[in-house]
């Protein structure tokens, strides 16, 4: 039992993000309204972004902006230790992921507007029924 508590305390951040991911996946599969599906997709993407950023954390380290400013150009005035700063690579990659998620969200919502103009409803089952009638 103590072992389980230790595992939970050490890794609870992964479990939280997995829960968020599953909420987004549930919304995408089960909900009928198109806008709710799109919001579920956005929740899923946000959960993945948060998960990756959390893998770059380090205990007791600060944000990845070098503290001493721009004292000496190229002289290496102060020695910078990698332990003091959190890993910047997940942040960089996730900036790209955020931009991609915003782009997909924009195009998905524009498509939803056009579907609404055409079929006059946003419920998936009504749209499928109208298509089958044709």
């Amino acid at each position: 039992m103590g072992d389980l508590i230790q595992i939970v305390v050490a890794k609870y951040n992964y479990w939280i993000y997995i829960t968020l991911m599953m909420i987004g996946l549930y919304a995408m599969i089960v909900k009928n309204n198109l806008v709710k599906k799109i919001v579920g997709m956005n929740i899923f993407q946000t959960a993945i972004i948060l998960y990756y950023v959390s893998t770059g954390a380090k205990k007791g380290a600060t944000i990845p902006i070098l503290e001493h400013g721009h004292d000496g150009h190229g002289a290496g005035a102060h020695m910078v230790h990698a332990v003091d700063y959190i890993n910047p690579l997940p942040h960089v990659l996730m900036l790209t992921a955020i931009v991609v998620s915003v782009a997909t969200l924009g195009v998905a919502l524009a498509l939803a507007i056009r579907i609404y103009n055409r079929y006059n409803t946003l419920e998936e089952d009504e749209i499928l029924a109208q298509i089958r009638e044709k």
């Binding site: 205990k59 070098l66 190229g74």
Partner: protein
């Protein structure tokens, strides 16, 4: 459908949680993600590019090629939205409705007749929202400051969190605020569709143009040290200025 979805979600969640047993402990400085390449970035950024913000340096300099295609992705998403939402031929409706702002009297104008344009009458159609003094006044005060802050975030991306993407988002949010608080017609008048499209294309062009300039000056694509001869500074500051321009 609900039950199938629930089963899928729960089983996937259980599998993923089972997989986390092998993951490194949270906030461990010796986790594999922080061991191989990132110490190089953290320790060598200052002496190689003279930009304190490591994230900006990696994004715009070490991985600048990736960011260039990122800009292209946003541009194509913008073009797709543009094409989807465009109204090609808006024919004149049979009669137009104008509303006097102060008294609320509605005037119906037949097709072809003209009402002299003045601030007392506003046009009512599908793009109109009711006149609300508090919201309009507050947004009119706030929007210039939001845009100023956006420009600051873009320009100061070297030393503080921020940079191009973040400042651009804030700038876009200010235009959307104008569209929400006033009606859509005002926002389109302030920022016409053609100006919009031109700005998008200019952004991608500046990025690729900087890369091509470096290519012309003799070094690899997007290797900013080549700008040193154009700007007459030492190569390190040239890299910093290259990051600013993209």
């Amino acid at each position: 459908m609900t039950i199938i979805g629930l089963i899928i979600v729960l089983s996937t969640g259980a599998l993923l949680i089972y997989a986390t047993v092998d993951f490194p402990v949270w906030a461990d400085p010796a986790s594999p993600a922080s061991l191989h390449l990132s110490p190089h970035f953290i320790e060598r950024t200052m002496e190689e590019t003279s930009v304190p913000n490591i994230v900006t340096a990696v994004l715009a300099d070490y991985r600048g090629y990736d960011t260039m295609y990122e800009t292209t992705v946003i541009f194509s998403a913008g073009v797709a939205c543009f094409i989807l939402l465009r109204v090609l031929l808006r024919e004149e409706p049979g009669e137009r409705l104008y509303r006097h702002v102060l008294t609320g009297v509605t005037v119906r104008v037949k097709k072809g007749a003209k009402l002299p344009p003045s601030a007392d009458f506003e046009r009512i159609d599908a793009l109109w929202a009711p006149h609300d003094l508090i919201v309009k006044t507050i947004c009119r005060f706030l929007i210039p400051f939001i845009q100023l802050f956006a420009l600051y975030v873009i320009a100061h991306g070297h030393h503080s969190p921020g940079g191009g993407f973040q400042g651009g988002v804030i700038l876009g949010a200010s235009v959307i605020l104008l569209a929400i608080s006033h009606d859509l017609r005002t926002a389109v008048q302030r920022m016409r569709e053609k100006v919009d499209a031109l700005l998008c294309a200019t952004g991608v062009f500046i990025y690729a143009g900087t890369g091509a300039l470096c290519l012309l000056l003799g070094l690899n694509f997007l290797d900013y040290s080549a700008l040193a001869s154009v700007l007459r500074v030492d190569p390190l500051t040239a890299r910093s200025h290259g990051i600013l321009s993209v």
